[in-house]
């Protein structure tokens, strides 16, 4: 089997920029990512232990439920039926990010620290009314949850929003036209696992449906991050901003899109559909109880925000870089015309080697099988050394076989033919 060394220009690496489609359908308290259904399994419901709108990072615990088995794995690791990761607390201060620092500090050296799968990620929606404080020393109620931090998420994006002002004057946290601290707005957070390195500019497409009928649509028609209405009441108007690199959509238009009212931000207050409540039904139930002292801002009521007549479709393309290695393997003329395959030799009874206690003598008159095509079975065509190349092996510097490229059908190689195989490997 001959080996050939790749020359300098035979191997190159490049990056493929791909734009995977990302689609979220939000309806009645749930999101569905790329039409992933909520399937139930024989044991777990849903089988991935997370909803269709979530991605599961390792997807390890499929159709498993946690239950005590009274068994241990390797001595002191409890078997609860689930795959989970663990690490022994040591002087290297290694721990899981999901564990609070206080809890980590409280454990002893040598203790087993546990983290649970699945790790999941999902989109989130926050609604800021005009009166919701953007920063406060008390917890801030941003529908649907209390933010325990002193600064709201929208305020933490202030510098980022202002940074993109070179693209469009709409990117201003506070201007003479509007102030994000004082207007009603919605913030949609899309984790990067859904879109990769960045959301592709101009691909965000928001569709607002009431009882299955499209009432409004918004797109970034200028590809600068400003979302404009392209259908419905807000057609032609800027309705929000997209932070493509950071994965945020900020919806600022509170223009009524329809007269069909629903419970978008509170289970007790009807309001009209508008862009600021786009995907608001994703939030599901409202936390807290009436009369809670949740600091400044309105107290939340208990109940569900499902807006059953509204559904929301959010489409975009992510950006994913795929490194590929391309190698050109050449089969030159006059080479690769011999095979050690047993069928390369014409079968005769004299093919055996003579061996005795003194000698091992191979038959040097073995005839190569003539496989040249002919119209007749006998005589065959004029003999020509012919091999069929079925695969190309890639070896490392120590001649370890590291990859095999197979061709769909064997390639006929004769003395006067030369081939170059283009081998591509996604890294």
């Amino acid at each position: 089997m001959p080996y050939y060394k790749f020359n300098k220009n035979d191997v190159y690496r490049n990056t493929l920029k791909t734009f995977p489609s990302v689609k979220f359908l939000v309806y009645s308290g749930s999101a569905y990512y790329n039409n992933t259904p909520n399937m139930s399994g024989a044991f777990a419901d849903p089988i991935r232990l997370t909803d269709g709108g979530h991605v599961s990072l390792y997807e390890m615990n499929v159709d498993r439920v946690s239950s005590s088995t009274d068994r241990f794995i390797g001595g002191n690791i409890p078997d609860n039926g689930l795959i989970y990761s663990w690490v022994v607390k040591g002087g290297d201060r290694l721990g899981f990010r999901s564990e609070a620092a206080a809890s980590w500090d409280a454990s002893q050296y040598g203790d087993v620290l546990i983290s649970n799968y699945p790790y999941t990620a999902s989109i989130a929606k926050e609604f800021y009314s005009a009166t919701t404080p953007r920063s406060s020393s008390a917890p801030i109620y941003v529908s649907p949850t209390n933010m325990t931090g002193a600064v709201s998420h929208i305020l933490t994006l202030k510098n980022t929003i202002n940074h993109y002002s070179y693209l469009n004057p709409q990117f201003a946290y506070s201007s003479s036209v509007r102030d994000f601290n004082l207007i009603e707005l919605g913030l949609i957070n899309i984790p990067s696992i859904f879109y990769g390195s960045t959301i592709k500019q101009g691909t965000v497409d928001l569709n607002y449906y009431i009882t299955g009928t499209l009432i409004a649509r918004a797109q970034d028609t200028n590809r600068d991050g400003v979302l404009y209405g392209t259908y419905g009441e807000t057609s032609g108007s800027a309705i929000g901003l997209a932070l493509y690199n950071e994965g945020f959509l900020i919806l600022t238009s509170s223009v009524s899109l329809s007269d069909d009212q629903s419970y978008y931000t509170s289970p007790s207050v009807l309001s009209r559909p508008r862009w600021t409540v786009f995907a608001q039904s994703l939030t599901g139930s409202v936390l807290g109880t009436v009369g809670d002292d949740l600091g400044p801002g309105p107290d939340p009521a208990v109940g569900l925000i499902t807006a059953p007549s509204a559904s929301f479709l959010m489409e975009m393309s992510g950006t994913s870089m795929v490194q590929t290695l391309t190698a050109f393997a050449s089969a030159p003329k006059g080479e690769l015309n011999q095979s050690t395959n047993p069928t390369f030799i014409k079968y005769t009874a004299n093919n055996f080697a003579n061996s005795s206690s003194q000698a091992y003598i191979e038959n040097d008159k073995m005839e190569i099988k003539n496989v040249v095509s002919s119209s007749y079975a006998d005589p065959t065509g004029s003999f020509e050394k012919t091999t069929y190349i079925s695969k190309v092996g890639l070896y490392d510097g120590n001649k370890n076989l590291i990859a095999i490229a197979k061709v769909a059908t064997p390639v006929r190689k004769t003395v006067e033919r030369d081939f170059t195989f283009k081998i591509k490997l996604d890294l």
Partner: protein, 361 residues
């Protein structure tokens, strides 16, 4: 940018460390032996092994968890070429393929047979074996030594296999593993009684019944686990015992059934498979030292306004910066990595700090 770059002293400012992260992997036998009506079992037309998934494999949620196969050496008593020997050459090929990768070759260039106690100079060889190849998804860098437990149902009655069980563990693995394999380290699998007393006697550690290759993630299980190890050999296919139906013994089945049939029989008697895996986390920690006279000035455009530092009130105030990120550069000043702080750190000529930047790979 006067003092933006500081050169590392490789002897003092960086250290390479390795940490071990583990995962607990429980595989309950019901997944393996029938919850999904064998829709999670993939058999191939070549018939040389069978793949086991944790969910019906046509679902995108399914994970490949291990492959099963069986084979015997050419010198085994169950080997033969008569019509009753099904897939004889394939079983020998499987055994030889596994043996040459896991046990290697002897001085004469012949494939070594698996050795029951790992001492290659002699002793009992495992000539008939089942192979459990755990996928990389589960075994990761290696199976953690001393954590492997396979519980097999060894009740003589095929239809009620778990009335008696044996636990097969690599109990000695944590300190008694072998290194004379080309595929890395391996431990001896020992069997002890689980439910009931199917084994009339066994040593303190148990009775050797197979091998576990930690880095390769392959368990080699001797067919004796269903036969000579036990007081009553088990039936691999019938309700009645082997005494009345010798054709249902493990060696008879190894000979007369296809590899897939042998794998089905093993799965039928698998109650549990438990192990921990190991993931090596290699890290380099860079100690980025900001001395009192370093990094007290910024080239950030917002640092100056009308040629005055905006963070200073009076001209006599000491300079102040807020460190938000640490960049790691190559020798020719190419930015390779950026470490961000969770919140800006105030830096003045009166303060010093060391940012500990950890790079995992």
């Amino acid at each position: 940018m006067a003092t933006s770059f500081k050169t590392f002293d490789p002897t003092k400012d960086s250290v390479v460390s390795r940490n071990l992260l583990h995962e607990a992997i429980p595989i309950t036998g019901t997944i393996v032996s029938g919850t999904y009506s064998d829709n999670n079992i993939k058999n191939y037309s070549h018939g040389m092994f069978q793949s086991v998934y944790d969910y019906p494999f046509l679902s995108s949620s399914a994970n490949h968890i291990f492959d099963l196969t069986a084979g015997y050496s050419a010198g085994s008593e169950v080997s033969g070429t008569s019509a009753t020997h099904v897939q004889n050459s394939k079983k020998i090929n499987i055994y030889n393929q596994m043996a040459q990768v896991l046990a290697g070759f002897n001085a004469q260039g012949a494939v070594r047979e698996f050795d029951e106690d790992g001492d290659l100079t002699g002793g009992t060889k495992i000539e008939e074996a089942y192979f459990i190849n755990v996928t990389r998804l589960l075994s990761k860098d290696e199976i953690k030594k001393g954590s492997f437990t396979l519980t097999l149902g060894v009740n003589a009655d095929y239809t009620n296999p778990f009335a008696q069980t044996i636990n097969i563990t690599d109990a000695s693995g944590s300190n008694g593993f072998k290194v004379n394999s080309p595929a890395g380290e391996y431990g001896i699998l020992f069997a002890k009684n689980g439910t009931g007393t199917p084994m009339s006697a066994h040593g303190t550690n148990g009775t050797a019944v197979g091998l576990l290759y930690y880095q390769a993630g392959v368990a080699v299980l001797s067919s004796s686990a269903f036969d000579s190890l036990l007081s009553v050999p088990v039936s691999m296919s019938r309700t009645e015992g082997v005494a009345s139906h010798p054709s249902a013994s493990v060696n008879a089945i190894l000979s007369s059934s296809a590899i897939s049939g042998n794998c089905d029989a093993l799965r039928h008697r698998t109650e549990n498979l438990l192990f921990n895996n190991t993931i090596e986390l290699n890290s380099t920690v860079y100690f980025c030292r900001a001395n009192n006279t370093d990094f007290n000035y910024s080239a950030n455009p917002t640092y100056l306004s009308s040629s005055k530092m905006v963070v200073k009130t009076d001209s006599t105030d000491e300079p102040v910066t807020y460190v938000t990120a640490v960049g790691l550069y190559s020798a020719d000043n190419e930015l390779l990595a950026v470490a961000k702080l969770s919140e800006p750190l105030k830096k003045t000529p009166a303060t010093e700090f060391t940012a500990r930047v950890r790079l995992d790979y």
